[in-house]
Amino acid sequence: MPVSMMPLSVFDDFANVNISLLSGFKTTLLIFFITLAASLPLGLLITMGSMSKIAPVKAVVRTFVWIIRGTPLMLQVMIIFYGPGLLFDMPMRDRLTAVLVAFIINYAAYFSEIYRGGISSIPQGQYEACKVLGMTKSQTFFRVVLLQVVKRIVPPMSNEIITLVKDTSLARVISVTELMKSAQDIVNQRAIIWPLFYIGVFYLLFSGLLTLLFNFIEKKMSYFNG
């Protein structure tokens, strides 16, 4: 039955549900994009630490990455939100900030490992060819190595970024009203189930778009083997 022919109350319901879900979705998008924008470069910094020639730096950074990757993101969100208040009597005012801090650190740690894998998979011969051709270290990295690394890390990065879409729902653990929580609130208030299926479609579309984007990038870089 087309929407316009539905009884008014159902249509009304649908519109209201959409309005609350959309405001939740806005928060979801915010978490997604800010996390991505900050953790992509931060991850590179962590990679530099975990590949450092200075042994103590490497040990500290790798331990840090192990802790972040070895504990649940949900736990990290809770510790960052409740920790300052309960430990130092300096409560976190903004829940969303706590979520962003936890997400950025967590995703930077994951990205750093993907970068590290990509960098160390470049054959030594590429560096040697650059050296005998008199290229500097930065020319070697930016002109020769970087694009090959990017090509190699696109598949694991796309995996991780699609995971981030769904991980945004963990923000609800400290009552940040993102898409998941706004749907759950509606379910509780109105005793209807369909909003849960409906947000499933949101996540699917979002990750579907990302999949298309990453396929496009992969295709763009298929002109070389390396």
Partner: protein
């Protein structure tokens, strides 16, 4: 003797406890071709890697075209720029080509020279002219290895032999005084070795100074002015191809050459 362009003196190299080079000395005149033969593990590749600065020797002295590349008696302390200038006095062709996959054949040949040109004081004013000049030279090099028509192709679109020829052109682009080859045909299908050997012969005819580590005995004999036989990190015998291949003095060389006649 003023024409000596490569001089290696008492070179030693250890990896941990294994001594791979145990005092290597030889020299080479400008325009000559030296082949280094010997069984695997004799130190041939390590020797090339020390001369081309991919490895640092432990002891001895290396001089290329008047530049002291390495000297354990009075360690070389060059600025980065000076180190790179000296680096470019040698060129190296790798066994596994090591072309840059994301660049076309032409771009592979041009890259290092382009980056170097950016440091020229007149680069900004004459950008266009300099770029055109570099491209012209690179095309010329590709023509000389018979790959003019593949200039726009990526390495993955080329056969192994073609890739190796691009890598020879790339090594020649910065005008090295001595060009080194590390088993340039070992990674190739036997049918494709011929095209590489032809290019090397052509370079020899043009009086390019070259050092070639190779297992192609008949080729070494044909193209070289001088042959060195290495064994267990020392030069066991050296001489003209006739001396070494027809009248080897040591039983080891005889035994080694016999293996190739089968």
């Amino acid at each position: 003797m003023s024409d000596i362009i490569l001089k290696v003196d008492g070179l030693h190299k250890r990896f941990g406890k294994t001594e791979v080079l145990k005092g290597i000395s030889f020299d080479l005149e400008k325009g000559q071709v030296l082949s280094i033969i010997g069984s695997s593990g004799s130190g041939k590749t390590t020797l090339l890697r020390c001369i081309t600065s991919l490895e640092t020797a432990d002891e001895g002295r290396i001089e290329v075209d008047g530049n002291v590349i390495f000297d354990s008696a009075s360690p070389v302390r060059d600025s980065k720029r000076e180190t790179r200038r000296k680096q470019l006095s040698t060129g190296l062709v790798f066994q596994s080509f090591n072309l840059f996959p994301q660049y076309t054949a032409l771009q592979n040949v041009e890259l290092a020279v382009r980056l170097l040109a950016k440091e020229r004081p007149d680069y900004k004013q004459n950008k266009k002219a300099i770029k055109a000049e570099i491209e012209k030279n690179a095309m010329e090099l590709l023509r000389s290895v018979g790959l003019e028509d593949k200039a726009g192709n990526y390495p993955c679109e080329l056969s192994g032999g073609q890739q190796q020829r691009v890598s020879i052109a790339r090594a020649l682009a910065p005008h090295p005084a001595v060009l080194f080859f590390d088993e340039p045909t070992s990674a190739l299908d036997p049918l494709l070795t011929g095209e590489i050997l032809k290019v090397i012969k052509q370079l020899a005819a043009g009086k390019m100074t070259m050092v070639i580590v190779t297992h192609e005995m008949s080729f070494a004999r044909e193209v070289s002015d001088k042959v060195v036989y290495m064994q267990h990190g020392v030069i066991a015998e050296q001489g003209t191809p006739e001396e070494l291949f027809d009248n080897p003095k040591s039983p080891e060389v005889r035994a080694f050459l016999n293996k190739f006649e089968d």
